[in-house]
């Protein structure tokens, strides 16, 4: 299984914020989701992979060149006075594998008017024009920064479908950042979890969902030592809840409720837990 992307000990500092020692790989044929709060460092890492900015230390290895990467950022990198048709006209000379039939098909699917100017497009449409371009030049790797934020559930589902279709071809891969955990749960094969510039989990989504369980019980059910196993411990009037590693269940009382946990709750508990250690 060859990797299309490999990051080793990537670090970058800004005043007041730093990304430390981030390492992960993206094998060909898979979708990797980057989860993290706003400001956790997702966009910075994506920008470094794309070559917009350089790491302070560490390496980024890409098994494809710039023309094989399709990009969707939060704002399109097109002149806002251009029309949709002009975007194709001006960018296609740079892509040897430009497919105008495919582009026309996507314009139709996304209901994009060729004559409309970029600045007149809604946020969702701005993302869609970028996606149409990204899918029309024979890209092997799609990199998307929060592609579904601001979209309604139907549009989000459409994007997730397109991403899954994209990797039906095993030589292609997708890397996208999001904090909409339901999209990640639906689409991602691998998940990189970023909290405050550090990776707290990098592996398959299935393994992440199996690693943790949601636990809940009555007040005073746990000893101090047992409480330490609970991540994102939350106490309220009639009990407590939180998350712990499945492996730690044997230390905890059998009377507790332990059940499968959703990605959303893992996200919340991890971030809460991280805040406690600040």
């Amino acid at each position: 299984m060859t990797n299309i992307l490999e990051l080793k000990n990537f670090s970058k500092s800004y005043p007041g914020f730093s990304i430390k020692d981030v390492s992960f790989t993206l094998p060909k044929g898979y979708i990797c989701g980057f989860v993290g709060q706003n400001g956790a460092g997702k966009t910075t890492i994506l920008k470094s992979i794309l070559g917009f900015t350089r790491p302070d230390s560490g390496t980024i290895e890409l098994a494809c060149c710039a023309e094989e990467i399709g990009v969707v950022m939060e704002a399109p990198m097109y002149v806002d006075e251009w029309t949709v048709a002009e975007v194709e006209m001006n960018l296609s000379p740079f892509y040897p594998a430009w497919d105008c039939v495919a582009f026309a098909r996507y314009l139709e699917q996304f209901a994009l008017d060729r004559k409309k100017k970029i600045k007149a497009l809604s946020r969702g449409m701005k993302m869609k024009i970028q996606l149409a371009v990204a899918l029309s030049h024979g890209a092997k790797l799609l990199i998307l920064d929060e592609p579904t934020s601001g979209l309604d559930p139907l549009a989000r589902d459409e994007v997730c479908d397109l991403l899954r279709e994209f990797v039906l071809d095993e030589s292609r891969s997708v890397l996208f950042s999001s904090h909409i955990t339901s999209d990640l749960e639906k689409t991602a094969d691998y998940i990189n979890f970023l909290i405050d510039g550090t990776i707290v989990y990098a592996g398959t989504k299935d393994a992440l969902l199996e690693k943790y369980v949601r636990v809940a019980g009555g007040l005073g059910a746990l000893s101090a030592e047992q409480k330490r196993c609970i991540i994102g411990y939350r106490e309220h009037g009639t009990g407590f809840e939180g998350m712990c590693e499945r492996a730690h269940l044997r230390i905890l009382p059998q009377t507790l409720l332990a059940e499968a946990i959703a990605l959303d709750d893992i996200f919340i508990c991890m971030n809460k837990g991280a805040k406690l250690h600040e």
């Binding site: 898979y30 479908d161 899954r164 279709e165 639906k186 094969d189 299935d206």
Partner: protein
Amino acid sequence: MQIILSHRSGEPLYEQIKTQIRDAIFSGDLAEDELLPSVRGLARDLKISVITTTRAYSDLEAEGLVVSVQGKGCYVLPRNKELARENALSKVEAGLSAAIDAAKAGGITAAEILETLTLLLKEEVL
């Protein structure tokens, strides 16, 4: 072949896929030498990760129920009578364990369980 997943049952998705394919093989819904959907196609249809479908298929291959051919996909292997028996036995075991747990919770004795079992067996022709 149909695969219907529940996202709320708490049972891991790959287990559900395995169970349903296994049952389909043993019930004859899936014939010998039939080609299963590709791992990617199945993942796309069910809207789940391709890693999940791959895991289900490789587990089934380890159990000896299917075989994956490079470049072609996963084929159903001839129905192994022994495996079918084993599958049924494990289901019996699971049902009986559940009965014993219920008995413990309700204070039913072992003798009562055996009595109920004998009665039920008399009604069914095995």
